[in-house]
Symmetry: C2
Subunit: 351 residues, 2 copies
Amino acid sequence: MKFKIATLPGDGIGPEIVDQAIKVMKAVGKKFDHEFEFNFAVTGAAAIDEVGEPYPEATHKICLESDAVLFGAIGDPKYDNDPSAKVRPEQGLLKMRKQLGLYANIRPVTTFPSLLHKSPLRKDIVEGADFVVVRELTGGIYFGGKGRSEDLKSAFDNCEYSTEEVERILKLAYDYAGKRNKRLTVVDKANVLATSRLWREVAQRMEKDYENIETDYMFVDNAAMQLIQWPKKFDVMVTENMFGDILSDEASVITGSLGLLPSASVGKETSVFEPIHGSYPQAAGKDIANPVATVLSAAMLLESLDLLEEAKAVRDVVNRSLDQDVVTEDIAGDKKAYKTSEVGDWLAANL
Amino acid sequence: MKFKIATLPGDGIGPEIVDQAIKVMKAVGKKFDHEFEFNFAVTGAAAIDEVGEPYPEATHKICLESDAVLFGAIGDPKYDNDPSAKVRPEQGLLKMRKQLGLYANIRPVTTFPSLLHKSPLRKDIVEGADFVVVRELTGGIYFGGKGRSEDLKSAFDNCEYSTEEVERILKLAYDYAGKRNKRLTVVDKANVLATSRLWREVAQRMEKDYENIETDYMFVDNAAMQLIQWPKKFDVMVTENMFGDILSDEASVITGSLGLLPSASVGKETSVFEPIHGSYPQAAGKDIANPVATVLSAAMLLESLDLLEEAKAVRDVVNRSLDQDVVTEDIAGDKKAYKTSEVGDWLAANL
Ligand SMILES: CC(C)[C@H](C(=O)O)[C@@H](O)C(=O)O
Ligand SMILES: CC(C)[C@H](C(=O)O)[C@@H](O)C(=O)O
């Protein structure tokens, strides 16, 4: 089969890690007889530098026409700490999410036995943790009205959710839970926020349609604690945009394998697959960044195209690379550190 | 000297743990020749049951007339999972904060050597962590306009901050940092939120007036990660209300000593001192809850009255109780577990 992959390397280490995912996908194509057409487009600081804005129309068009989007990372230190900057790379990300309607961000949090010693948590607490954080991605305070009062002396951000938005993301989360261990934790702040009370109402209604799934409710502050105290108790956690931003990042570090975790942002037309780590500018161009999170994002991409066997082949070769210590310096420890490109070559060759 | 202490035991284990703090304060009064007048008032579910609302005017009056407020905990399971309940215990807490103008919540996060094994974090990561989370407590999305659209199909919560509100809390945080290790981390989401950009602007302006203090800025998602990865790097962290709710709870579990951590909520007229743990309804009336967080809150209360030596005496006796394993079942492990009241008696007798 033939697939169009919009390819957005972005900033920092983005290009080098995306290159490795492409190598692996090409190997998949060869082995399983598919053709992937990689259509490159700019985004982030790279796009600002080139065309003055972080998610140009041309890039959007390429994404819209794609079967899936492979994304690197965006962000450049020259835009940080400058609250007055008019154009920021992150705006590109938000615009992409909005324009492509990427309403659900999915982050599987898995532990890798060989990396447990890198976890900041005690081994007995984290070993075997395996859950998914589902974050609403196109609503809430991110996309509500925001600005300054006329005298500039105060600022506001509005958070809003509609019943449809809540239903849509809960449905996806329930479906995910149905394919996994049949437990869904709905995280909100219903003791304070009106939007959270809407979420809880909708969930309490939908709960009845998913009788085989055990739903529980948790306040966001409590969830922030339980993620650290009992990460193994979670199966699927679903929450609104801002809470999801915080909790999914918190969840990502408990495993010690931040450099290995993939994500999917699901839209109606197309979906975007990217590592959860950032653009890591200090490492850019040095061929030292860990490409595994991007390669595993490519595996999620393959899954979204219903290429399940192909996705499994990618996961398997990644696991073998970890077992055989074919890894970059961030996780090599005392052993030999492979270059980014060497890991990519190995994965492609051994698929 | 004579001091008026408004005493609000609240719900669940509130009454029994507040009792122990009172015992200890009475012992302080005897030893240092002060008189504490404890004026009791209802709050939370207890107040709803008694007078139909969770922060009655009579309670407010007693607080206003006090030199400080000693608070237990509020919350009752019968109000959970009922998004439609018209009166909720938590509303009492929010009303108290607003009416008393408790603009800053201060939470020292300290590790106790004898409890490190209870931490979900690796010992090498958490040992020696010692920082303070300062949370803005009367602004932001908690107190902005909120509600439903007319057709009930959508809900909204507005977040707002004024320059004065931001300046006030940052000033307090800078003063705290000045008395500690002279580092302040300002946590926001300035890459997305207009209110966060206001926070960052104000902080960048004030930074220049506090040359002896090192200010750094961190996005809230990143802070949620770094709290777990490198808790020792923080000194004072300051943030807005909603982020502070999440981060301060996250911070509180990394030490393994949740049952021991106190807090202060600072207002202009009076301040409120309370344990950070909740009302723990399952344990109510069983004389098993850990009173130490409340006793240490009393120590913060004494400090706020400029009774520094007295506060130190309370901390010292708490440390001795821990060294000598005079502790409740939550931390007793294989050793003998003392009752709540026994720990209180021991602390009062050994002060
Ligand atoms: C860069 C930023 C706007 C973005 C977000 O907050 O959504 C990022 O933190 C993420 O989680 O993808
Ligand atoms: C009970 C709730 C309203 C409250 C809050 O969110 O502020 C609590 O979580 C806290 O942190 O004191």
